[in-house]
Symmetry: D2
Subunit: 117 residues, 4 copies
């Protein structure tokens, strides 16, 4: 990840793109690329969405949008000095305390089984 972050920084510097790369613009670009990933799935059923990699053209679009999302996430973190992996590890630690594990004893599913915010 660090090597990719360096390549992205060098790539932007060689093209004089740093003035565009404010944290605000990079966060916005990240959200635009995330929406382009969503666009691939927007009319699919849950089942169809699980099979998108079977079609080579769609698989290529998915990989391309994933690359764009990761690129802007890394550039955003570089611009603000955020360590994304550490931030996520700390968040998982917190969530393991916040969200109890499912009961495996055969009881009913918990009624408040929702996703972390």
């Amino acid at each position: 990840m660090e090597a990719l972050q360096l390549r992205l920084a060098e790539f932007a510097a060689a093209r004089d793109w740093q003035p565009f790369h404010t944290p605000k613009n990079l966060a916005t670009a990240l959200s635009v690329e995330a929406a382009e990933l969503v666009e691939i799935f927007q009319w699919l059923t849950p089942e169809q969405s699980a099979a998108v990699m079977e079609d080579p053209e769609t698989a290529g679009r998915v990989e391309d949008e994933v690359a764009d999302v990761l690129a802007y996430l890394l550039q955003f973190c570089h611009a603000l000095g955020v360590d994304a992996a550490s931030a996520l590890a700390a968040k998982i630690d917190r969530n393991e305390r916040r969200f109890p594990r499912a009961d495996r004893s055969g009881g009913a599913a918990p009624s408040n089984r929702t996703e972390p915010e």
Copy 2:
């Protein structure tokens, strides 16, 4: 990154969340978290956006949203077997050919100096 991906998979499995984690839903959740990151910046000037980490509370919000974005990106990639780092490396290779480096000889800036789509 692989260790985080494993922790996230174990975390979701222990809470019976896999049925919710279709690729469509994970891509959507990724875009929602990206928007929550953008929300921090939406009314800031470019200058203010560069200084967000100076305020500890805002810095914590930024790290929290970055963690959420990375969490859903990793889970999305896990669900579909996408290697995000390889996809990004391949994309940088392609973009290095597509976008010429800035002219350092003192000539005018290229008129089409725009960001990669």
Copy 3:
């Protein structure tokens, strides 16, 4: 719609919010509110998503996010002098030519039955 647009303009002016209301910021705020609407649905099945108005609390959240989306859409259009209703009427005209009607004669579904982009 025009009355609402005037109330929103007066509301922002009375609070000195115009400097924040650049077209860029208003478009961004619109996308953030749209993501908050999506958040209500992100883990729901298609069937559950059709029943959200049966729960009064969720119904209230939906109406609240719809109001926010419309508010920023109207303020964005006001800032740039865009007539959203005319733009949409023109777009429907174009799409009626671009996307053929479904064949009602009993034949197979068209293979390219996709949504307008």
Copy 4:
């Protein structure tokens, strides 16, 4: 607005698109179109963003994305029976109580002058 909503419903019915038009999918499509609107502005300065309508091609893109956002907003509201204009009028009423008007007596700007969420 009601006439547009009827045209959109008829348009979708004539193409057998209703099965795709779950509230979840329509909210998602709305957010994707909002992101496409944002994309036009993502690398612009605040000043550049105020001048986008001076370029006819960019103006056409803005109108096109506004049309798409409004189309999905109207279709979403139609699917769930939400009256967007009433929801917004009620929200402005609430916000007029929540957010005090700016002090015009020449005093300092309030330090907490932030946007409604």
